[in-house]
């Protein structure tokens, strides 16, 4: 009984570490003031320029090193209000890793994309890891580490105590840790390792190579708001892949990349 008590205390203490670390990075006073100023400008805005001014303040917060879902979400709203739909899509998508389960973000992104309620096709891994789009990327990282700590403590218990219960518990915790690490790695791959982009110019002709001299890659130009992933940049051009795997080259100036 004494062993169980000690292990429980250890477990809870260790679990508190990552959550404690996650909560430590509160913003400074300057950022909070800027955020409130942006809110004020946004609230009083009546023209596109005024909404753009609010967007500029949100952008300056993000440029100051604060990667916050709320800031990107509000930036998207300001861009949307200013009539910059493509930039709004980019901002909303930047918020997705941090506000994965936020219904308002999903609704606003859907509205910006103009997709109505038509669901996007999800890859198989997102069906297997059913929580993938319900838990934020940072939370997955914290959960991975917490589960690793749980597995570690249970593993120690399995070494130093006789009951087989601890061994099975440790194995279960290790499996859970591995799955959560895979889930985090998937987020890393799609959010951090892959560069995404949105066409921000009115239209952009995708070409078969990285120069104006190449023939158009598609029969129609890419419309404003078209989303893509960057395969590779070359000079002033980007080789891009569209959601249906079609590839082409567009001028960098015609898109925003994140």
């Amino acid at each position: 009984m004494k062993q169980y008590t000690i292990l429980t205390v250890m477990l809870v203490s260790f679990l508190a570490i990552p959550f404690g670390l996650g909560g430590c990075n509160r913003v400074d006073l300057d950022t909070a003031t800027k955020f409130q100023e942006a809110e004020k400008v946004f609230g009083n805005a009546k023209t596109d320029d005024e909404y753009l001014k609010a967007a500029g303040i949100y952008q300056s917060i993000a440029d100051g090193g604060v990667d916050s879902g709320a800031v990107y979400y509000n930036l998207g709203n300001a861009m949307m209000k200013a009539g910059h739909r493509a930039e709004a899509i980019a901002a909303y998508r930047k918020a997705v890793p941090y506000l994965a389960d936020d219904p308002y973000l999903a609704a606003n992104l859907r509205y910006a994309r103009g997709e109505g309620t038509v669901a996007e096709a999800r890859p198989m891994i997102e069906h297997l890891l059913f929580w993938q789009n319900r838990i934020s990327y940072p939370m997955k990282v914290y959960l991975s580490f917490s589960l690793a700590i749980v597995a570690f403590v249970l593993g120690l218990a399995a070494i130093f105590t006789q009951p087989k219960f601890w061994r099975w518990a440790a194995v279960t915790a290790v499996v859970a840790t591995v799955v959560m690490v895979l889930s985090t790695a998937y987020d890393w791959q799609r959010f951090d390792a892959t560069q995404h982009g949105v066409i921000t110019s009115g239209e952009s002709i995708a070409r078969k190579g990285g120069a104006e001299g190449y023939e158009p890659a598609f029969t129609e130009p890419l419309a404003n708001g078209t989303e893509f992933t960057v395969i590779k940049p070359r000079g002033d051009w980007l080789q891009i892949s569209l959601p249906d795997d079609k590839e082409g080259w567009i001028p960098k100036k015609n898109a925003t990349v994140f």
Partner: protein, 645 residues
């Protein structure tokens, strides 16, 4: 010397030492008007640069040179602040000249020949009038000849901002005399005739005027290495020498015109036209010219040799007026395009949509003219569009005289079947009035929006009165901003650190796991435990044996001592100690590679033990000491061989 006199002298000395430099400095910094000409001799019509420096004048304003209007055409060409000083030492005399003020530049073009005096300009400084020095300029009359004619024209004479206009310098050169009249009159000079054209260098163009083609490209199109005019004394490297340069020559494709010469006869002239197109972005009047030409031209043949005449010529400047597009009758849909535009094409993509879906509208305005000042038409002001579509700000792309506007729209109502025609107004320079181009209407299909169930609107008014009903998807708007400051924090993650931490935990676990296993193995190894306690057990037995011998229990004492030695050997290789004979002990020691002498001593000690046990007291007195010594040596030797720790 009285006290007063001494003080007076001291005061005067101080004044001389400290006040004199100040007085000199004040004299050097007094306001003055300095003037200079870049040349002392010019031809009629050829401009000269007149520089007026207002030195040490506070709050200077450009001096008024209108008093020169009788003799010169005056144009102010700019100003430049001056802040310099330099020291001159001539024959040991040091002079420091300081320039603090503004230099104003004027272009003076003499209206008549002769030695002209340019009176110095005057300025008012602190109520005093300061006048600059008068200068003289020798103006040489232009050649009275009919060999070369030159003039400047501009087409059209009036333009609107961003509307292109062309300035042409036409040079007519009389054909060479027979029989060489067919030869190019510019191909016979050893030194090319030199033109001075003020609108060649892009950085010397008037403010607000820009050439359509940059200087290099324009000159390249005129360059002719065989013959032609020099322009502005531009030089290029000589093909004959690395170190010499020669005047670059430029020659537009010549044409022939017939015109009357000084004798009134129709004569063939070679015509060279230097045309350059410009665009003015600001309203105003701009002057191009004057231009000058100097060089030798062929005029006749004497004894088979071509005779030439040195000619100096100037062409009067020409002005172009850039007018404002009229405000009167300006339609609401005026987009800023100037020229003649024939079509406004519109495309909508996609055309089969639902309410609220974004569609891209592309409008392309095509024609001839300027779209530099064009602005994106506001579709929200078109009632037919605003009624059925939510509009967003459009983007603009221009290429040549084509403008492309791209908009995002969202249909507001289902059942809309046609996207209305759009009108764009522009200013037609041919008719000097506003005109309109219209796009064709586009057939579209707008269907009803999908519905969004309440379960998909998480976080809204949950159990409200609509909880059990489907809500109609709002076709407008976005959900509100996040305003809670607790939500604003840096959420960036460094997965590599967390992964390293998880890996570290795994590694730590493996270390603990294998360490524990090793410890357990060691703890449970009986032979190892026996070996580790062998020495203490042997000493304990030796002590016991010694005590027994001292208490006259010889038999038991000898047995204990024997067991002390044999037990040590048995513990080392985890064998049985009972029944070990001296011979067995010797073999073990030899296996352990101990010294022969020690082996013999051990064997002898064991034999003594046996002898003592069976003989009663034989050798018992020394047995304990001898056995103790042998045991110590054994332990020492075994430790040396790392068999014992």
């Amino acid at each position: 010397m009285s006290m007063i006199k001494r003080y007076s002298l001291t005061a005067i000395s101080f004044l001389l030492v400290f006040a004199m430099p100040g007085m000199i400095l004040a004299a050097e910094n007094r306001p003055e008007v300095l003037v200079q000409l870049d040349r002392e001799r010019v031809y009629v019509g050829e401009p000269v640069t007149y520089q007026v420096i207002l030195n040490h004048v506070k709050n200077p304003t450009p001096p008024d040179l209108s008093y020169l209007a009788d003799q010169f055409t005056v144009h102010m060409t700019g100003g430049q602040p001056m802040n310099s000083s330099f020291v001159q030492i001539i024959n040991g005399k040091r002079t420091e000249k300081i320039r603090r003020g503004i230099a104003y530049f004027y272009s003076l073009t003499a209206k008549s020949a002769g030695v002209l005096t340019i009176p110095g300009p005057s300025v008012e400084v602190d109520g005093q009038t300061i006048r600059g020095q008068a200068l003289t300029l020798q103006v040489v009359p232009a050649s009275l000849q009919d060999t070369v004619k030159m003039d400047i024209t501009v087409e059209p004479a009036e333009v609107y901002p961003t509307q292109p206009f062309t300035v042409t310098l036409t040079v007519l050169v009389k054909s060479l005399p027979e029989p060489i009249s067919g030869r190019n009159p510019l191909g016979v000079q050893s030194t090319p005739p030199m033109l001075s054209i003020p609108w060649v260098a892009d950085n010397e163009l008037p403010d607000g005027v820009k050439a359509k083609q940059d200087t290099r490209a324009w000159l390249n199109s005129l360059h002719n290495s065989q013959s032609g005019f020099g322009i502005n004394r531009l030089r290029g490297s000589s093909p004959m020498s690395f170190f010499e340069s020669r005047p670059l020559t430029f020659e537009p494709s010549p044409s022939h015109v017939m015109r009357k010469d000084a004798a009134g006869e129709m004569v063939d002239y070679w015509q060279y036209k230097f045309s350059r197109t410009f665009v003015a972005s600001r309203i105003g009047s701009y002057t191009f010219g004057p231009t000058t030409l100097e060089g030798e031209f062929g005029t006749g043949l004497s004894g088979g040799r071509l005779e030439g005449e040195e000619i100096h010529l100037a062409a009067s400047p020409i002005e172009i007026a850039v007018k404002q597009v009229p405000q009167a009758n300006r339609p609401n849909g005026y987009c800023g395009a100037i020229g003649s535009f024939s079509s406004l094409e519109s495309t909508l993509n996609p055309t089969d949509i639902r309410v609220g879906d974004p569609v891209t509208l592309t409008l392309t305005l095509e024609g001839t003219g300027s779209v530099d000042n064009i602005s994106v038409p506001d579709l929200a002001k078109v009632p037919a569009i605003a009624k059925n579509f939510k509009t967003y700000e459009g983007t603009l792309e221009t290429k040549g005289s084509t403008a492309k506007f791209v908009y995002t729209l969202r249909p507001l109502d289902e059942g809309v079947t046609e996207f209305p025609q759009i009108s764009v107004a522009y200013f037609n320079t041919k008719t000097d009035s506003f005109a309109t181009v219209e796009s064709a209407p586009i057939a579209i299909k707008v269907t009803k929006a999908e519905k969004l169930s309440t379960s998909q609107i998480v976080g809204t008014s949950g159990g409200g009165r609509n909880a059990n009903h489907d809500l109609q998807l709002s076709r407008e708007g976005i959900f509100a901003n996040k305003t809670n400051l607790d939500e604003v924090h840096d959420q960036s993650v460094r997965p590599e650190y967390w992964l390293a931490a998880i890996g570290g935990l795994g590694l730590l676990y493996l270390i603990i796991y294998f360490g524990t296993r090793k410890m357990r193995t060691l703890i449970q190894d009986k032979s190892r435990i026996r070996r580790r306690s062998a020495v203490s057990r042997a000493r304990h037995r030796l002590n016991e044996g010694t005590k027994l011998l001292h208490s006259r229990k010889v038999e038991q004492g000898a047995d204990e001592i024997r067991l002390a030695i044999c037990g040590l050997l048995a513990d080392l290789d985890d064998s049985c100690e009972s029944g070990m004979t001296p011979g067995d002990a010797r073999r073990k020691l030899e296996d352990f590679e101990l010294e022969t002498e020690l082996v013999n001593r051990v064997g002898k000690a064991l034999e003594t033990c046996d002898a003592t046990r069976y003989s009663g007291n034989g050798g018992a007195d020394n047995l304990a000491d001898e056995a103790g010594s042998v045991l110590d040596d054994m332990v020492h030797s075994l430790k040396n061989r790392k068999l014992l720790k």
